[in-house]
């Protein structure tokens, strides 16, 4: 671990590590949208229906959260696969030791998924003058908060699982059922860091979503209404800047709970440069959002810059996360198995299919956009 990630490992291990980080990054893009989006809507609901109606972001989120959840689950399958190749014993043992509590994330996920659809349908029913329409506001608050509680439970379970993977000393006492259970010091700061980081992602994602949906916040439209005296863009800037600040705070807190070896791995040759990339990405984003908050404008070029900085920050953080894990797991006995797994056959088929499917997905999205544009022209 004396070279920068992913170098310094045998080729097969490096390949799996890169695939884990890349697919996890893809999962994060959607997962952050869901986690922060659900929280954004739940908090927004508390400020009354007039405010909610004025906030275009809430409408977009309620409309798109179910799909984003589907994408988050789908994108989550790949990192789940590669983690089993890289750290099988640790991952399985943590799953098994947490057992029923861990498995509870599945019904919770199912319930939350349907609650998001229910939230979407309540959005529509509000416009009706029916019994349910008159009471829909209360239900919207209840549904939003239950969904948020469910997603936070799922997030906390994942953090718990991750920390248990790294804590071999806790395995035997936990298996014996002795003591109060698994309550690591890193649970709260790590969960809080991921949660607040999700708002940073949400802000940049909403910028692009608003543009793709044709909702420009620098033009007078439903989207452009001010809430609490803040324009839509300024609200995103506040969201992103709060997220960045709080994440920095919680990451620092989490760092104090790490073992010295883990801290050394993050700051050392393995992940040091990635840590700086993450810090640099965060600073560029902060600068972009401060400027946007002051000028109430975000040009496409600056939005692209913020997006690149955001992705660099996420990639950097994910590598630091892997460095912490690599410092706790003895990879040495697994390296030969990684080599064997990589050479088992099937990699070229995966690469070809991944490229073809990516191209097809791009074609699908582009065709639908073109198709909708044509339809609109025909209607006009």
């Amino acid at each position: 671990m004396n070279a920068a990630f992913p170098c310094g490992f045998p080729t097969a291990t490096s390949l799996y590590l890169v695939l884990l980080v890349v697919t996890m990054l893809l999962h994060l893009v959607f997962m952050h949208y869901v986690l922060a989006g659900v929280a954004y809507v739940a908090v927004g609901r508390l400020f009354g229906r007039r405010l909610a109606a004025a906030c275009g972001w809430q409408a977009i989120l309620v409309d798109w959260l179910p799909f984003a959840t589907g994408l988050a689950i789908t994108a989550g399958v790949a990192p789940l696969l590669f983690i089993q190749i890289l750290y099988r014993q640790e991952f399985y043992t943590a799953n098994l030791l947490l057992s029923h509590r861990w498995m509870a994330i599945l019904p919770a996920l199912l319930a939350c998924f349907y609650l998001l659809y229910l939230q979407k349908s309540l959005q529509k029913s509000l416009q009706k003058s029916s019994w349910i329409g008159r009471r829909a506001w209360v239900w919207r608050i209840v549904v939003a908060w239950i969904a948020l509680a469910g997603f936070l439970f799922i997030a906390a379970s994942w953090v718990e699982n991750h920390l248990l993977m790294l804590d071999r000393a806790a395995w035997l006492p936990l298996a014996a059922g002795d003591g109060p259970g698994f309550a690591p010091a890193g649970l709260l700061p790590r969960l809080a860091a991921w949660f607040t980081l999700a708002f940073v992602s949400l802000a940049i994602e909403l910028v692009w979503q608003g543009r793709l949906l044709g909702e420009r916040f620098d033009q007078p439209s439903g989207m452009a209404q001010a809430v609490f005296g803040l324009s839509p863009l300024r609200r995103l800037a506040v969201t992103a800047l709060s997220g960045l600040g709080l994440t920095a705070l919680f990451v620092a807190w989490y760092a104090t709970t790490l073992a010295p070896a883990a801290r050394a791995a993050v700051a050392g040759p393995l992940a040091g440069s990635w840590l700086w990339l993450a810090v640099g990405g965060a600073m560029v984003q902060a600068a972009v959002w401060i400027r946007a908050a002051i000028t109430d404008r975000l040009t496409d070029r600056v939005a692209w810059l913020a997006t690149a900085a955001w992705l660099a920050m996420l990639a950097g953080l994910l590598v630091c996360r892997e460095a912490v894990r690599l410092s706790a797991v003895d990879l040495e006995p697994l390296l030969a198995r990684h080599e064997e797994s990589a050479g088992i056959g099937g990699l070229p088929v995966f690469v070809v299919c991944a490229l073809l499917v990516t191209a097809t997905i791009i074609w699908c999205v582009a065709s639908v956009r073109r198709g909708l544009y044509r339809e609109r022209l025909t209607v006009r």
Partner: protein, 479 residues
């Protein structure tokens, strides 16, 4: 791969672990089949609609797709993940082996899963505002992606029963295109089409705005793909033909529950197929919502029976010739006989205090490693219930020579002392778990058990029995 990797063992109380994963699997498979066949049916309807041969196609497709999204995209996706997590809970060694050998195939399947979700959701969200050609393209892409995910996963599942040449070469494609691959793929494709057609018949009746004539017209169209069910007996026989002989025997009388479940699957499919071909397709009878629901329920029963048989006939293996049902590799049995299975398990026993003697505590550990994947102590398929009427000698012999007692059981993978401990555990539970229980350490008993273990060998029972049969026949011929 190391012969046996110990993991903590999850206790599901009175629930049998095999039934938990089986139950979940059945729900997941049925929903997945609905999604795969649904895409094909909707693409067909869209094409008919474009040709002017199905006037209500567009309205029905949009409604059907909403159900597809609400059921398959939500429950299907979550149960898919649940299958994975539950597999880890039940048998981490098995899922670990499957992931190790087929992770690139799984990763490839994931790419198609992504395409399925994106094309499906684009259609769900924007389909009504798109022109017919693009709608058809999206539906075809969705169906193709959904079917490809079946294509990939089918290779892994069928490999578990018929690994074939992979056992020698350990090459992924030898395992993937195994003997069961094509018949299983063809059978599952037809099942998916039939499931989607029947679900369509239910949904047509659920749309209040359709008149009876419109419903009759749509049902006639949606039921057309049911004609493929005529191929099911042939495909089923093909699949049966490539099964290992012992697995075939379980399903055809060797194991009564297995045979019953097979009959349930065949009978339900037959009823659906007969009704579909004679009443719906030939006589063009109208089917109302209740009848359609009944037919769909029968299809679910058929799927449940079929999946139960598919899982069951692998016994005593979970991956044929590679891992026994309790996730112990055949080559590890001899070593575990020597060292004892509890010796390789570092995890302490939960509630160890409830067992009055060290021998019973040893037995509890042996039980959770070797038996708990299919048996419980107090609940479903409880060993004390199965062995309650056996004499103590019978218990010793039957457990020592487990693969001979029941050929779908794996060989006992532990020491003679562990056999005796299990025998004592059974006696203790049958006796109502008394606070005092004597230890059984008679060296003569242990020596007898050791002899029985040696006699039974470390291979699967069926193989031993066949080899002995061949030897006996050869002996008779030479005489």
């Amino acid at each position: 791969m190391p012969p046996f990797t110990p993991y903590p063992v999850v206790d599901l109380g009175p629930l049998m672990k095999g039934l938990v994963i089986g139950g979940l699997g059945i729900v997941h498979v049925f929903i997945a089949q609905f999604a795969i066949g649904g895409g094909m049916l909707l693409a067909y309807l869209q094409w008919l609609g474009m040709k002017g041969r199905c006037p209500n196609a567009r309205q029905f497709i949009d409604g059907y797709f909403q159900v597809l999204v609400l059921v398959s995209f939500v429950v299907g996706a979550v149960t898919g993940v649940a299958m994975w997590f539950t597999s880890i809970q039940i048998s981490p060694q098995t899922i670990g082996l499957m992931v190790e050998e087929f992770h690139w195939v799984w990763a490839t399947e994931w790419t198609f899963f992504c395409l399925e979700v994106v094309s499906g959701y684009l259609f769900y969200r924007y389909g009504s505002g798109l022109d017919d050609r693009l709608r058809l393209r999206l539906l075809v892409l969705y169906s193709f992606a959904a079917w490809m995910s079946l294509f990939w996963i089918n290779g892994i599942l069928s490999w578990q029963l018929t690994p074939g040449r992979w056992l020698e070469t350990r090459q992924v494609w030898d395992g993937f295109f195994n003997a069961g691959f094509w018949p299983s793929l063809a059978f599952r494709t037809v099942t998916s089409i039939a499931t989607a057609s029947l679900a369509a018949c239910v949904l047509v009746n659920a749309v209040p705005s359709f008149t009876r004539e419109e419903r009759a017209g749509l049902i006639a169209v949606c039921a057309r793909p049911l004609i493929f069910m005529l191929a099911m007996p042939l495909l089923g026989m093909w699949y049966f033909g490539v099964m290992p002989a012992d697995s075939r025997r379980w399903a055809t009388g060797g194991s009564v529950p297995m045979t019953m479940f097979l009959m349930m699957a065949v009978g339900s499919s037959l009823l659906v197929g007969l009704y579909a071909t004679v009443a719906i397709l030939r006589q063009r009878l109208f089917i109302n919502g209740a009848t359609a629901t009944l037919l769909l329920t029968l299809a679910f029963v058929a799927t449940a029976g079929g999946e139960f048989v598919r899982e069951g006939v692998r016994k005593p293996f979970t991956v044929r010739q590679v891992l026994y049902s309790n996730a112990i590799a055949p080559e590890a049995v001899a070593e575990l006989r020597r060292t004892g299975s509890a010796a390789v398990d570092p995890y302490p026993l939960r509630n160890a205090g409830q067992y009055p003697t060290p021998q019973l505590r040893l037995a509890a550990k042996v039980f959770r490693i070797q038996c708990s994947v299919c048996h419980t102590l107090d609940g479903m398929n409880a060993v004390p219930e199965l062995a309650a009427t056996w004499s103590i000698e019978q218990r010793r012999l039957n457990i020592a020579q487990l693969q001979r007692t029941k050929p779908f059981m794996p060989p006992f993978a532990g020491s003679a002392e562990e056999v005796e401990a299990i025998v004592q555990l059974i006696g203790w539970v049958v006796a109502g778990r008394p606070a005092d229980w004597p230890e059984s350490t008679d060296p003569e008993v242990i020596a007898t058990i050791a002899r029985w273990l040696d006699e039974a060998g470390t291979g699967p029972g069926e193989e031993e029995a066949r080899e002995e049969g061949v030897a006996a026949t050869a002996g008779r011929s030479s005489r």
